[in-house]
């Protein structure tokens, strides 16, 4: 087990070094930041001074090593546009995105698995068939359209929920949370559903097809022959076997929720990282873009590492193979 984990961790580092190189290459290849920062009326001295100040006059490998060293400490330099520490800006915005992503993920996993199991057990039922048809909407409609439809229905027509922003937030240590106020919670509902709907339907359809596959297996038949009740068969024997492949997909999708929160945040004017990133792209604010890229790749790598470990934890056959 331990060699397996060490191998995975080693591979994770390789991935991070490569994404680090990509993030770094943006500084060199995507436009000239100095041009962007100084505007039309500049002198050559200004340019040289800023270059030296930003460390852009040094050879590229030296810049890369320096960049990695700084990045490991969470230091991504100064935003070209706001002139503030990138890490500071990110820390300010991260809670909004993380809270949104966490709620969407919980929604997607809990509802997705429950509906998946339900539609698999009641395969021919009317309700199950209706859910299956309805889920096609979740898979096929683009996120921004779902967001706009929800806003139209619940904010414009019914007026129940806010259409944009986080509502009132409370400061807990360095973390701003919307979980503690009523308006904060209300503001979370629509964006979380919008963000998690695709993942929810995906997980549901995957759980259903895996579960149907598992229910056809001989050991389920044998479990019936042993006289076990349907409840024990479905939720103990079948569900655990179903989860093995589902976990991989859930892991990948969790990363996707955080990374692709951009669209949802734009639709709902959610003051999170996605919105920050969109603005950064518009202004070619490369330090922010690089930091965002690094942060997302760290999250992906960590989640997948956890999934691999969880995998071996659930499936004893992998434990032996991994030894």
């Amino acid at each position: 087990m331990l060699p397996f984990i060490l191998k995975r961790i080693f591979q994770s580092f390789l991935v991070l070094i490569i994404t680090g190189a990509i993030a770094f290459s943006m500084f060199t290849f995507v436009g000239d930041p100095v041009d962007n920062m100084l505007g039309q009326e500049r002198t050559m001295e200004d340019v040289e001074r800023l270059r030296a100040q930003l460390g852009l006059d040094q050879p590229i490998p030296v810049q890369y090593v320096k960049f990695l060293g700084e990045a490991v400490q969470g230091n991504f330099g100064v935003s070209y546009r706001q002139g503030r520490e990138v890490s500071e800006i990110i820390m300010e915005r991260a809670p909004a995105t993380l809270e949104l992503a966490a709620l969407s993920a919980i929604f997607a996993i809990v509802v997705g698995i429950a509906l998946g199991v339900f539609t698999a057990i009641r395969r021919d039922g009317l309700v199950a068939n209706f859910i299956m048809s309805a889920s096609l909407i979740g898979v096929s409609l683009p996120t921004f359209l779902i967001g706009i439809l929800l806003i139209y229905l619940f904010s414009v027509e019914l007026g129940w929920l806010p259409s944009f922003g986080r509502g009132e937030v409370v400061q807990v240590g360095g973390w701003t949370t919307g979980f503690l106020t009523e308006s904060g919670l209300k503001a979370l509902i629509l964006p979380s559903i919008t963000l998690g709907l695709y993942q929810m339907t995906l997980i549901m359809r995957l759980v259903r097809s895996e579960m149907l596959e598992v229910l056809r297996q001989d050991y389920i038949r044998f479990a019936r022959a042993r006289g076990l009740s349907e409840r024990v068969i479905n939720f103990r024997h079948a569900l655990k076997n179903t989860m093995v492949p589902v976990i991989t997909v859930i892991g990948l999708q969790l990363g996707a929720i955080i990374a692709f929160a951009i669209i949802t945040e734009t639709v709902f004017q959610w003051p999170g990282l996605g919105l920050l990133f969109i603005n950064a792209i518009q202004f070619v604010d490369i330090p922010v873009m690089a930091a965002y890229l690094m942060m997302i790749s760290v999250m992906f790598v960590v989640i997948n590492l956890l999934v691999d470990i969880l995998y071996a934890f659930i499936d004893p056959r992998l434990r032996v193979a991994a030894k």
Partner: protein, 563 residues
Amino acid sequence: MTEPVLSIRDLTVEIPTRHGLFKPVQNVTYDIRPGEIRGVVGESGAGKSMTGNAVIGLLDDPARIASGEIWLNGRRIDNLNVEEQRAIRGREIGMIFQDPLTSLNPLFTIGEQLVETIQLHLNVSSKEARERALALLDRVSIPDPKTRFDQYPHQFSGGMRQRVVIALALCSEPSVIVADEPTTALDVSIQAQVLDLIKELARETQVGVILVTHDMGVIADTTEQVTVMYNGQVVENGSTDQVLSAPKHEYTKSLISAVPRPQVKLHRFPQVSYGGRETMFKIEDLARNWTKSEPSKSGKLLEVEGITKKFLEKSAVLPSWRTYFTAVDEVSFDIKDGEVFGLVGESGSGKSTVARMIGTLLDVDSGRIRFDGEEVTTMAPAEIAGYRRQIQMIFQDPFSSLNPRMKVESIVAEPLLHHKILPPDQISGRVQELLDRVGLTRAAASKYPHEFSGGQRQRISIARALATQPRFLICDEPTSALDVSIQAQILNILKDLQEHLGLTMLFISHDLPVVRQMCDRVGVMKQGQLVEVQDTETLFSNPQQDYTKKLLELMPRLAQLSG
């Protein structure tokens, strides 16, 4: 005579289909007494398993009991509701399935599955359940039950898993066990052990056993009473001795005569002729535009010299820390032109690995393979393609060796296209010819594999193998997934091909009677080594090695039959 513990009276099972009611089981009647083993024999589709499923209340939708009664210990059980049936399942009727590799849940330990079942049926604490589970594991002769208790199914061999399955079926001392082909997936030696265990349990615990099988040898060895089923109906019921030595029904007679005999060598495999299903197969057609295989230069088409294959068992960073499992250890043999060379041995003995190395599906670690004097192991990729064209393989499982998404025509045409044997406009004609030759109709070409039975699929595999006009055919257990009657047809096709086309063959099987009929010479493999190579007749009449003797003794025999 003691009262029967289970009685089936006039049982009929029906399945509604688009074309009206289909009755896979019709008016079946038989009894099981305590401690008795009743064999139920017949071809697949005869309704044997369906009857067993009806008894245990596990008929798959939309099948249902149409009429008849099932009595268990004086209580009628066919008309119970779902919950009442579930209460009987496992508690009063145990079940053993065919494939021990798939009947245990891979994510739970053996102990968890045993304790779960015991606690469900008997009102005991988890400590008592654990003790009982350990006693059961001991009862079915699993060594070191305490350690095994916490292990997962994948850590057990096939035979050991089947023992665990039997232990699970015995959890609450049922009065009847339905064993559906319990040893079909096992080796001869393991099969003998498992059957002995079932016999012993029946004798000691007085449990009645329904043993569903298609293997006449198992029936002869194990059962006291036998029920012969054909097309959903019981054609004969009686004591095993009587049915096997003096069968009354024509179907039973032809079924018994179709069982390959280890004692004598016959020219052709007798087929089950009952019901007029013997497909006429004209071998002359086959020889029509096919020149005989040209003889090799040395008279030896294939020479295998000290081939070895090791598989990585435990990986490690340093090469010296890695451990290997030697699947094939220094195996050498020759196959002459037009000869059928048999390889026998238990599973895991390396037979298939040898076949795969010859077929270049696996690389050889060391040693040499020469085909018609040319070294295969050092061939350039271009030469290998030419070599592969001359050798073709037929695999064991006709269900997984054909691509389910391809039509039969494309399956058979693929080797022709790949090796560019014919211009595209002639391919469809050649495919038709090939299908004709293996006894399939023209309409077969436009169907998909799942529309065919196991035997028909194996014919498709043969047609595909013949497409390149190979000189050498590797058959890896070509009939072990098939019924006796279908097996005879397929083996006859192979035999005819071999004789008329002068094909050379490597024939792998664990079924010794079949090997005796098919092969000119036989090699016996044990744990990766070739322990004995003999002419077939010598091997069967006068085996030299102890291991060969042991294998021959383990064959279930139809002793009552004078072949």
